[in-house]
């Protein structure tokens, strides 16, 4: 299976099952057009060569064909799907290795698009106690088998509303990690209102990543992200975010925003983040029912795809100007990246990754919290629903019919299970809009890598 497309002045060919990426000229591109979806080594292609020789010099057409055959022989073009076999024998025995700890089911903001019901998660407001947090650490140590690296994300609501407990859990995890040979890595996701020097010092000493919520320009941010009294947050948080990003040497953090139908021109917001000096950015499409005024719908697809292309061009321009920054979804490592098993199975929600509520209840991920059908157990009792775990464990790109003909499957691993469930009531039926967006992001990311390689850009 191949995917070919033209973007940013390049003719690009992705060989889906090998992961090889080729930049080709128009002759080669047209040759692939004529050959189609599959290549048969024993077939007679002289008719195609003769036809194309009407348009291009025959020697070039024949030269292209010879190069094509060599790539096929080298396993870099028209390669077969040799992962279906791995998937058919899929018997993944996962261990839990990442926790999303809902430190606070409460928030000091009232963001319009909040999937967590402004912190309550369809439940009541509440704070995680140190006792529950420590039980969660014990749970992951017990359920992580021989896995050494364990991730803890302090999430909310707003986790800094309960920062004392964050510190208590962190210290406990470090201590227990030493005892049980586990390497804990911590992430904090915050809206920034309560960031101060004490928090900064602790986070910088202890946390491998911090996610800072900002949507972009003041207008975009304050339209969605406001306090209980309706006042916007931009002016209060931006100086703090700049300060903490600098204090981490502009690494191991993300400013992370959400775009909605109300700011479809989100490239402007990403560029605003870059103009503020942030080098690590991420802006994501909102996920909301179509009944919401700000929800992204099918009618927005063309605009959003064009916006990703616009952002990709601006992104490369900044690199050409010697002012590079990173955008999370344009960061694809064509030479290494994760192994194919990771690419088949995705985020690990419900089997490798779980969310824990302030009460200690376990859900497959933060997006499922509050949906009682997906309550998996409790870190307080140690109960863990193997049936739900197995449902998520079995899910991979080969259990999702929509993925079978998609070129991007090894880059998104089948998409978000929560989105799939929320829109289609089936974790194996991906959410269409997310797929459209992901395909364009992958196309842009590959084109960016190609230009970086060809022009020697950072």
């Amino acid at each position: 299976m191949i995917h070919k497309y033209k973007l940013m002045g390049l003719d690009i060919v992705l060989d889906v099952y090998s992961g090889a990426v080729h930049i080709v000229d128009d002759i080669f591109y047209d040759l692939l057009d004529k050959i189609g979806e599959s290549f048969d080594k024993d077939a007679d292609y002289s008719g195609i060569i003769a036809e194309l020789s009407q348009k291009y010099p025959e020697s070039d057409v024949k030269g292209s064909f010879n190069e094509l055959k060599k790539l096929v022989d080298d396993g870099q073009l028209y390669t077969d799907d040799f992962y279906a076999e791995i998937a058919a024998k899929w018997n993944k025995k996962s261990v839990v290795k990442a926790l999303c700890l809902h430190i606070a089911h409460d928030c000091n903001l009232r963001c319009k698009y909040c999937f967590a019901g402004t912190g309550e998660y369809q439940g009541h407001r509440g704070m995680m106690s140190a006792e529950v947090g420590k039980a969660a650490i014990d749970f992951v140590i017990k359920n992580s088998g021989t896995r050494r690296n364990i991730e803890i994300d302090y999430f909310g609501g707003e986790p800094l509303m309960n920062f004392g407990v964050v510190k208590e859990i962190t210290e406990y995890a470090k201590e227990q990690g030493e005892e049980h040979n586990k390497n804990f890595r911590f992430t904090l996701t915050t809206n920034g209102i309560l960031l101060n020097d004490e928090v900064k010092a602790y986070v910088n000493e202890n946390m491998s990543n911090i996610v800072l919520s900002l949507d972009g320009t003041k207008e975009t941010n304050d339209r969605m992200r406001y306090r209980v009294d309706g006042s916007g947050t931009y002016d209060a948080i931006v100086p703090k975010f700049i300060d903490i990003a600098e204090s981490r040497n502009q690494d191991n953090y993300y400013v992370r925003g959400t775009f909605t139908a109300e700011n479809l021109h989100f490239a402007d917001d990403v560029m605003h983040m870059a103009d503020l000096g942030f080098l690590q950015t991420s802006v994501e499409p909102v996920v909301a029912p179509e009944t919401e005024s700000y929800a992204l719908k099918e009618e927005h697809i063309d605009t959003v795809l064009a916006e990703y292309e616009k952002l990709a061009k601006l992104y490369i321009d900044r690199r050409r100007e010697g002012k590079p920054f990173n955008f999370f979804h344009f960061m694809i490592d064509l030479d290494q990246g994760p192994c194919v098993v990771k690419r088949l199975s995705g985020c690990g929600a419900g089997h490798e990754y779980i969310a824990v509520t302030p009460e200690g209840d376990i859900y497959p991920c933060h997006q499922f919290v509050g949906n009682k059908d997906f309550k998996m157990g409790s870190v307080m009792t140690g109960e863990f629903d193997e049936e739900i775990k197995s449902t998520f464990e079995k899910s991979n790109i080969y259990t999702k019919p929509e993925c079978s003909n998609c070129f991007a499957k090894f880059y998104c691993s089948g998409g978000c299970a929560a989105n799939a469930y929320n829109f289609n009531k089936d974790i194996n039926e991906p959410y269409k809009l997310a797929c459209e967006f992901e395909r364009k992001r992958v196309e842009c990311a590959i084109a960016i890598e190609a230009i970086k390689a060809m022009e020697g850009l950072e």
Partner: protein, 48 residues
């Protein structure tokens, strides 16, 4: 005259040989929280 510039090797196929140690970061923990790009994740074995 060459008509193709190949940017990378057959990374996916080669990665099968590395096995699946599972030590890598859970993708949702980084920044996306819904969009699920995994291709930018680092392999812990190759990081060493």
């Amino acid at each position: 005259m060459t008509h193709v510039k190949t940017l990378n090797k057959a990374v996916l196929k080669d990665s099968v040989k590395r096995g699946a140690c599972g030590e890598c970061q859970t993708s949702c923990q980084s920044a996306c929280k819904t969009s699920c790009t995994v291709a930018n994740q680092k392999c812990e074995q190759l990081k060493k």
